[in-house]
């Protein structure tokens, strides 16, 4: 007995009329664009094979159109592959009859969807209990189980709320609870967190990992985010144009990428090449007008307990920095604030990549002012925020999509 729970054997999925001709062309090594031009057949998956071990998190990563969503739908027969077999615990699911298939979907495998796929006419608990309801579990028992699951995903007290009243993160917790309720062996997750914002996504990663460790489920996880893939995956498969490019552990993949495509994908995990200044800038705590009196400026700095202030004109155009020492000097010598502004400091723009300002940030004496095209002050970047964003690289997923650039 091997410990593979699922074996995928030469799965292909073609859409179109002339599949025979398309298959022949693919076998001869044409690429999918040529096949589409010649035959009108779309090749969504071509000759995909791999094994998933019981209890592991298997991540499938690829850009949109790489076939990953098609692949995940083959596991529970939402889509039927054109050819090839999927073996689940030694049984070929392609040969299941209607009742075997229902049985399989009800007890063995469940799914979490990208846009949650929740039923808005049911409340949280009835959504969680849906799978149990259709397989005919008694009402008491399914409510007990649904309660247990809502608690597991941290939604205690929300059982009777409507779906619309939940935030995105909570909705996906409901999706997760629903998928766990029937106690399946395998959890299919189709980009479950990509509709969520980065902070919520981080919480959900933690939630998923802790639940997975507790329950030991096998998870097949689809994503387009390499950070997410490496963080969650015991094994990662990279897909391109309906084929698998490389399957490996995250460690092996980052040290031995099989080709440039994989390498590019992994490089995009480096945050400094994706994040720009506007993602980490903050509003300056102390602003002074260039024609303020030095006294005012000093008071302003004392109130905010800082030693430097950013000087702007009436239209918020950046003029320079005033340190508290200079302001005191100006007060003593009866100078105007305007005369002591330090104009010789570094500035940057909102769209500068972090990797570009890294050397600048390391040297800067003061936080760097961020200006827009018209010289208007938009915010400041501190040395600590630049450095800590690097340290967090593993932790915080990149905002938006971290597709290959």
């Amino acid at each position: 007995m091997n410990d593979n729970i699922i074996e995928v054997k030469n799965i292909s999925k073609l859409y179109g009329i002339n599949k025979k001709e398309a298959s022949r062309m693919m076998k001869e090594g044409s690429n999918k664009d040529d096949v589409y031009k010649k035959t009108g057949v779309t090749v969504a998956l071509w000759d995909v094979s791999f094994e998933v071990k019981k209890g592991e998190i298997f991540v499938i990563i690829g850009l949109s159109g790489s076939g990953k969503s098609t692949l995940v739908r083959c596991f529970n027969q939402l889509l039927k592959p054109t050819s090839g077999d999927i073996i689940f615990e030694g049984k070929n699911i392609e040969t299941f009859n209607k009742s075997e298939l229902l049985e399989y979907r009800r007890n063995k495998i469940s799914m979490v969807f990208q846009n949650f796929g929740l039923m808005s006419h049911r409340n949280v608990m009835d959504n969680v209990a849906y799978g149990l309801e259709v397989k005919g579990t008694a009402k008491d028992e399914r409510q007990k189980r649904a309660l247990e699951m809502t608690r597991l995903v941290g939604l205690e007290g929300w059982e009777h709320k409507s779906i619309e009243s939940l935030s995105g993160g909570m909705k996906q917790r409901v999706g997760l609870a629903r998928a766990l309720a029937s106690n399946p062996e395998v959890l299919l997750m189709d980009e479950p967190f990509s509709a969520l914002d980065p902070l919520v996504r981080r919480d959900m990663h933690f939630e998923l990992l802790s639940i997975q460790r507790k329950l030991g489920k096998t998870v097949i996880f689809i994503t387009h985010d390499i950070n997410e893939a490496f963080k969650l995956g015991d094994k990662v498969a990279i897909m391109k144009d309906g084929k698998i490019v490389q399957i490996d552990t995250p460690e092996n993949m980052s040290t031995n990428p099989v080709d440039d495509y994989v390498k590019k994908f992994i490089d995009s995990a480096d945050k400094t090449k994706v994040l720009s200044v506007k993602n980490i800038m903050i509003t300056p705590s102390c602003l002074v007008r260039e024609n303020d009196s030095p006294k005012n400026a000093i008071r302003e700095m004392q109130q905010n307990s800082v030693s430097t202030a950013y000087a702007v004109d009436s239209r918020m155009v950046y003029k320079g920095i005033v340190s508290i020492d200079d302001a005191l000097r100006a007060g003593k010598e009866n100078l105007k604030l305007f005369d002591v502004i330090n104009k010789d400091v570094m500035t940057t723009s909102e769209d500068t990549l972090l990797s570009e300002i890294l050397p600048m940030a390391a040297e800067a004496k003061y936080p760097i002012a961020v200006l827009n095209g018209g010289g208007v002050l938009k915010g400041i970047v501190t040395k600590t925020s630049v450095l800590s964003s690097l340290a967090e690289r593993e932790e915080q997923p990149v905002q938006g999509k971290s597709d290959v650039t």
């Binding site: 739908r73 529970n76 939402l78 229902l102 049985e103 399989y104 979907r105 009800r106 007890n107 469940s110 799914m111 969807f113 990208q114 846009n115 949650f116 796929g117 929740l118 039923m119 808005s120 006419h121 049911r122 849906y130 799978g131 309801e133 259709v134 397989k135 409507s162 619309e164 009243s165 629903r178 029937s182 299919l188």
Partner: protein, 297 residues
């Protein structure tokens, strides 16, 4: 004449030739006549059941004292809008119909509308589901619906009369044909456009087709289906007036008589009354839809 004199053979170019014309119309006439003769018993039975039920509805509505009916309308007007003056406005409008001496005519019209809408819903809802579930049914039924909707409504009056002679029964038939269309359309539209992932979720968790339909697709489509109900009522309202032409009693007949006599005032009042009933029906059903949507949120 476009063609010059003496060139009669050119006739066949400038006007459609006589020899190529055929008369399918009279064949159709004969077919319907024959059908009505052959099935006299069945048609008679349908007729008497339908007339009995309309009379039943009519009796029920007439047995409610007029002021109670007005109060009911005020109450529901208030319930759906949450504003008392809206309810009162509807009440005043109803009172206007009574004050115009059209109360019993209104009851006649509303009875036929209610019967027609009930039949349209009972037949239209399962038909809509069928269209949504089966590609073949869709290919057959959709063109028929298009035909039914674009055909001028007067055309339905003729076969209805041929089958059931004149009166309320052919009016009911013509009204149902006209008003069933939005019910079928909106039901199928609602079910087919349930969010793709929600539908997938229903299947992925092991629902049978029936379970997915009853537990997920129909409830998710309910707001759209309710819009279909609202439109069905509006269509029935407008058709029931046209049906005065085949002798259906009610507000429509009053308008028809007044029009024939060129009596502006007499045509105007029942016209206004029809508008009033249509507004009240529309607002009350739409209010129900909105309330349902609010309740879901």
């Amino acid at each position: 004449m476009i063609n010059p004199k003496g060139m009669t053979h050119m006739n066949n170019i400038y006007s459609f030739p006589q020899s190529l014309q055929f008369n399918i119309g009279s064949a159709l006439d004969d077919a319907v006549k024959q059908f009505s003769k052959n099935n006299e018993g069945v048609l008679g039975a349908i007729r008497s059941v339908a007339i009995k039920s309309i009379q039943g509805i009519n009796w029920a509505l007439s047995s409610i004292p007029w002021f109670v009916l007005i109060i009911i309308v005020i109450y529901f007007g208030y319930r759906v809008s949450r504003k008392i003056y809206v309810g009162l406005l509807y009440g005043v409008m109803m009172f206007f119909i009574g004050a115009s001496g059209l109360w019993s005519h209104m009851i006649d019209t509303v009875s036929v509308v209610i019967a027609a809408v009930a039949i349209s819903l009972i037949l239209g809802f399962p038909l809509g589901i069928l269209v949504a579930m089966s590609k073949r049914a869709e290919n057959i039924i959709r063109p028929i619906l298009d035909l039914m909707q674009t055909m001028p409504s007067f055309v339905y009056l003729v076969p209805a009369v041929m089958l059931f002679s004149i009166g309320i029964m052919p009016a009911l038939l013509a009204t149902v044909i006209y008003s069933i269309v939005p019910m079928v359309r909106m039901t199928s539209h609602g079910i087919m456009h349930v969010d793709k992932e929600v539908k997938e979720a229903a299947i992925a968790f092991g629902s049978t087709k029936m379970q997915a339909l009853v537990k997920v697709q129909i409830p998710q489509a309910m707001p759209t289906i309710m819009t279909g109900v609202n439109q069905t009522i509006m269509m029935a309202m407008s058709m029931v007036v046209t049906c005065a032409l085949i002798g259906a009693e009610g507000l429509g007949l009053e308008i028809l008589i007044a029009t024939n006599r060129v009596e502006m005032g007499k045509a105007f009042l029942p016209g206004i009354s029809i508008v009033i009933i249509a507004i009240i029906f529309d607002r009350l059903t739409q209010g129900l839809i909105k309330k349902k949507e609010v309740a879901e949120q």
